[in-house]
């Protein structure tokens, strides 16, 4: 959206506006699971895309105790299962949006509804899950698009988010898009440490007037260097801290919650999710992680194509920013972002699509389909919104495909789930039929029924 304006100022002016908001937030979504829900479901006569093998015609999927109990062409239907005839329909794993601010931001312009970005530059100890609001209206709206789990990512911006994001933004949490409480919604509390790779920012140089509005380059470069030095320092201190933890008893060193939060990072147990778009920043981030021996996932990656060989050789996966944004530069080909997924795929770089937003999360499938239109093989596009994000964030033993033993996050559609006009008919989260109702549908029904004045 080219009209993005960095203003933190307007947040201050909107406290009044929240008066409108509270009734809306209190109107709770229909949470799941219901108390009297059946123990097992059998979805029969569907075409099943397990994404773990060839599609199954006229297949059966059994769900029990929240998990997929069986899937195949010749599967017996258990006596106690509620049978859903899915003839003419198709079954897929639910989609997985790996960068959102779900539950962390309700209305971008109203600061009291925004918990997505902590103040300050280094916040490794804050965890997204803590601030996820299970009653957010974005959750049921997003479900309707066939998305069953997302990462809530702190300090990840968003289309209607403004202001700086800090360098170490906090820990991203994997959440189900349903649950009575945050605990119900938790898929994994901490899946990645967010880093916004510093940029050399002189703010603006207006080519229309050829006037500089902000600081000179060398100053900006110095700030960049300072931030990278600070980041390095944080990592090195965390490494010393980890050593101290390993060699001393708890009484022998002073606890530091921020350093403690970075210990899994320096031990290689928690990847860095590094936001960077331009090739210069991406390359610097990769060099940094190489040097520090850290696990890296790239987010954004508008110019990942320039470093595709490096990304492949280092096995660094990418969460791609929506292609429904303009190319970075005026002289980029008009389809630069649209054709990038095909290029990365051909080069063997693993990637997932992300919405990087809340209210646009429902465009995830559209985004993937657009990549197909510009050359990405369809199966890869489908996996890039299901299996690949699960693999990238270490959750593929639980979600991402339809296989026995996995968590039953399942969608039943009347067609290609990436296509704009397809509809989700049933949606299961943790094996429970989950409501496809939402605030928008209710407003639709209410005003469709308005009598003529």
């Amino acid at each position: 959206m080219n009209c993005l304006r960095a203003t933190t100022i307007f947040r201050n002016s909107l406290i009044l506006a929240t008066a409108f908001l509270f009734p809306a937030l209190l109107a709770a979504q229909q949470p799941t699971p219901k108390a009297d829900a059946p123990k097992a479901y059998a979805l029969v006569h569907a075409k099943i895309f397990t994404l773990a093998g060839a599609p199954i015609e006229n297949g059966t999927l059994i769900i029990r105790d929240g998990k997929i109990a069986a899937v195949g062409g010749q599967v017996e239907v258990p006596q106690d299962a509620q049978v859903i005839n899915a003839e003419g329909l198709q079954i897929y794993p639910g989609m997985f949006d790996p960068v959102t601010q779900m539950g962390l931001r309700e209305i971008g312009a109203v600061s009291s509804t925004v918990d997505s970005t902590e103040t300050g530059n280094y916040n490794p100890d804050v965890v997204a899950l803590t601030a996820v609001s299970p009653s957010s209206e974005h959750i049921p709206v997003t479900r309707v698009a066939g998305i069953t789990e997302v990462l809530a990512v702190p300090a990840s911006g968003g289309m209607d988010s403004f202001g700086p994001n800090g360098v170490i933004g906090g820990q991203a949490s994997a959440i189900y898009l349903a649950g009575w409480t945050v605990d119900d919604m938790q898929l994994k509390r901490s899946v990645a440490m967010v880093v916004n790779w510093p940029e050399i920012q002189t703010k603006t140089f207006d080519f229309a007037t050829f006037q500089r509005k902000e600081k000179p380059y060398m100053e900006a470069k110095q700030e960049y260097d300072k931030q990278v030095t600070e980041l390095t320092d944080w990592i090195e201190r965390a490494r010393h801290y980890a050593q101290a933890m390993g060699h001393a008893g708890p009484a022998d060193y002073e606890r530091d919650l921020k350093l403690e939060a970075l210990v899994p990072v320096v031990r290689g147990q928690l990847p860095l999710l590094i936001f960077a778009d331009r090739s210069r920043e991406i390359r610097n981030a990769i060099e940094f992680c190489d040097k520090q021996n850290l696990k890296m996932i790239l987010a954004g990656g508008s110019e990942a194509y320039k470093l595709k060989d490096l990304l492949r050789s280092r096995s660094i996966p990418v969460v791609l920013r929506p292609m429904l944004t303009s190319p970075l530069y005026e002289d980029d080909p008009y389809d630069r972002l649209l054709s990038q997924p095909a290029e990365l795929s051909a080069a063997g770089v693993k990637f997932a699509f992300g919405s990087f937003d809340n209210s646009f999360a429902r465009r995830l499938g559209q985004n993937a389909a657009n990549a197909v239109a510009y050359g990405l093989p369809y199966d890869e596009a489908l996996k890039a919104v299901t299996l690949y994000p699960a693999q990238i964030f270490g959750l593929s033993d639980q979600v991402g495909t339809l296989e026995s033993g996995k968590i039953a996050n399942v969608i039943v559609t009347n067609g290609d789930p990436l296509e704009i006009t397809s509809d989700v008919r049933y949606l299961f989260i943790r094996g429970q039929v989950t409501s496809l109702d939402n605030r928008q549908k209710r407003l639709f029904e209410k005003y469709s029924a308005r009598p003529k004045p």
């Binding site: 959206m1 080219n2 009209c3 993005l4 304006r5 960095a6 203003t7 100022i9 307007f10 002016s13 909107l14 506006a17 908001l21 209305i107 971008g108 312009a109 109203v110 974005h138 911006g157 289309m159 209607d160 988010s161 202001g163 002189t202 703010k203 603006t204 140089f205 080519f207 229309a208 500089r212 000179p216 380059y217 060398m218 470069k221 778009d277 331009r278 954004g300 508008s302 429904l324 944004t325 303009s326 530069y329 002289d331 080909p333 008009y334 990087f356 209210s359 429902r362 499938g365 389909a369 657009n370 197909v372 239109a373 704009i420 006009t421 928008q440 407003l443 639709f444 469709s448 004045p453």
Partner: protein, 505 residues
């Protein structure tokens, strides 16, 4: 030493970028310059033709003469000398009309310093080199309603353009299209989201004040008009030596509104403000041509329909501010069902590149038919802009503004292959791709040349000059949207944000 060298290299790189941008502005590196002129006779064959006005023609042909559609049908014999586009397996539809755009504008779209800025005109600041013209063409857009921003209750004058990439600014406006004026209601004109601490608030700061600002302006305009009417009447009755009323550039466009010579395009969100403007319009006897965004239009669709106003809305934007919290993707469908003339617009250069997909969302959300969805980006916006006799459907006599897709355009898998305006190909995907290598080569050569000349210059410079040079401002322009909010090019709040809407707020 090392750091200084690195700094120098960056400076040079920056200089190169500056020059490249300058060259691009001159059109040296302009993407895909269009053909010198349109062929006199052009025949598009074997296409699935979505006429919008009279159904779909399979394996059909369109004959174009001198930029106009001369014949549409199942089979048309190739006239002598006709150029042929074989669109076998492809889909042709009317060029997309974007009823809310801010492309091709030089600088800010908001004269936000005053509450009534009717004296300024977007037509005066058209920039034909804006790359977004080309990008939107590549998304099938042929006509755009280029609007002033939404900082003011009554904003600036607006202009309808054809996306004739490569033509000078004087050739962009749609010939004969009535001009418009932007109004804005709600959070943006009351500057809810733009307060700067320590700065006095501009009137109006409430929806009450927005109404009064509009009523006050039209009260003035009505008095001003009656003075002119009186003067004209007496002059034509033969009275001599009368002093004419003093001309008021702010009120002239409002008089045109009262006389039905200028369309009102009113940015709005909430149901109450929509009804407010309808009341004010009735009081002063003018029409609201379109409500723009109109995200709560579904709540008062009957009233909008009864007033004969159009509605131009987003497909699925919501929740970016309070007045967009009740926005629903069913909006277009409900309004259509209740008899409102509805279009889907972009308000954004990138969104405009897939309006076909955005229109398709109303099939899923609200159950519109394929035909109804297509109309919302073709004939409906054409009617809203009063240009439906010229564009908006594939009919004999209309301008040959056409888009050719490789796939059903109401799908996320469709890619624009060609875009024609007045029978001339302004975008051709095959050609765009074929020319990329050459453009890349040209850019490299220019970069090399510039590097060399920068090196030469820096060698010639005296030491103190060099130091000065190092302190010079420099940076590449920030990517327009890394989505991280930190790179905004206009962060001064009042008077800078483009339109309201998403992001712009």
């Amino acid at each position: 030493m090392k750091a200084a060298r690195a700094g120098n290299a960056l400076l040079k790189a920056f200089a190169v970028i500056v020059v490249l941008h300058f060259l691009m502005a001159l059109g040296v590196l302009a993407a895909n310059p269009p053909d010198a002129k349109a062929p006199a006779i052009l025949l598009i064959q074997n296409a699935t033709i979505l006429t919008v006005s009279h159904g779909t023609i399979e394996h059909g042909s369109i004959l174009i003469r001198d930029g106009k559609i001369a014949e549409v049908g199942q089979s048309i014999a190739k006239p002598q000398g006709a150029e042929v586009i074989d669109a076998n397996g492809q889909f042709v539809m009317p060029g997309i009309i974007d009823c809310h755009s801010h492309i091709a504008v030089d600088g800010s779209v908001n004269e936000g310093s005053v509450s009534v800025s009717s004296m300024v005109n977007i037509a005066d600041v058209l920039n034909p080199d804006d790359i977004d013209i080309y990008r939107d063409l590549a998304g099938g857009v042929t006509v755009a309603n280029v609007l002033h921003g939404s900082a003011n209750s009554i904003g600036g004058q607006t202009v309808v353009i054809k996306l004739r990439w490569g033509a000078p600014a004087s050739r962009l406006p749609f010939e004969g299209a009535l001009p418009g004026i932007k109004f804005a209601l709600g959070e943006n004109p009351k500057r809810s989201n733009f307060s700067i601490r320590g700065q006095e608030k501009r009137y109006p700061a409430t929806r009450m004040g927005v109404e009064e600002t509009i009523r006050a302006a039209f009260t003035e305009a009505r008095d001003y008009k009656s003075k002119w009417d009186d003067y004209n009447k007496r002059t034509s009755a033969g009275e001599k030596n009368l002093i004419p009323p003093r001309r008021d550039l702010r009120l002239d466009p409002l008089v045109e509104v009262l006389e039905g010579k200028r369309y009102v395009h009113a940015h709005c969100y909430r149901e109450d403000e929509i009804l407010m403007l309808l009341r004010v319009a009735k009081e002063f006897g003018f029409k609201v041509r379109t409500f723009q965004h109109v995200l709560e239009g579904y709540k008062v669709a009957d009233e909008i329909a009864a007033a004969g106003a159009g509605a131009s809305t987003f497909s699925d934007w919501w929740a970016y501010k309070v007045e967009a919290y009740d926005a629903i993707p069913y909006n277009a469908a409900i309004m259509t069902r209740r008899g409102v003339l509805v279009s889907i617009n972009s308000d954004d250069a990138e969104e405009a590149t897939h309006l076909n997909q955005e229109a398709a969302k109303s099939i899923r959300y609200g159950g519109l038919s394929r035909e109804e969805a297509l109309k919302m980006i073709t004939i409906n916006p054409a009617m809203q802009l009063g240009i439906d006799k010229r564009v908006g459907s594939i009919d004999v006599g209309k301008d040959a503004d056409l888009v050719i897709y490789n796939h059903d355009p109401l799908s996320a898998y469709a890619v624009v292959q060609k875009t024609l305006i007045d029978g001339r190909v302004y975008f051709d995907r095959t050609r765009d791709i074929a020319e990329r290598a050459d453009r890349e080569k040209e850019k490299k050569a220019l970069t090399e040349k510039e590097k060399k000349s920068a090196e030469k210059k820096s060698e010639e410079k005296k030491p103190e000059e060099k130091r000065q040079n190092e302190k010079k401002p420099d940076d590449k322009p920030k990517p327009p949207q890394s989505g991280r909010g930190s790179t905004a090019d206009e962060s001064d709040g009042v008077g800078s944000a483009a339109d309201s809407d998403r992001g712009a707020l």
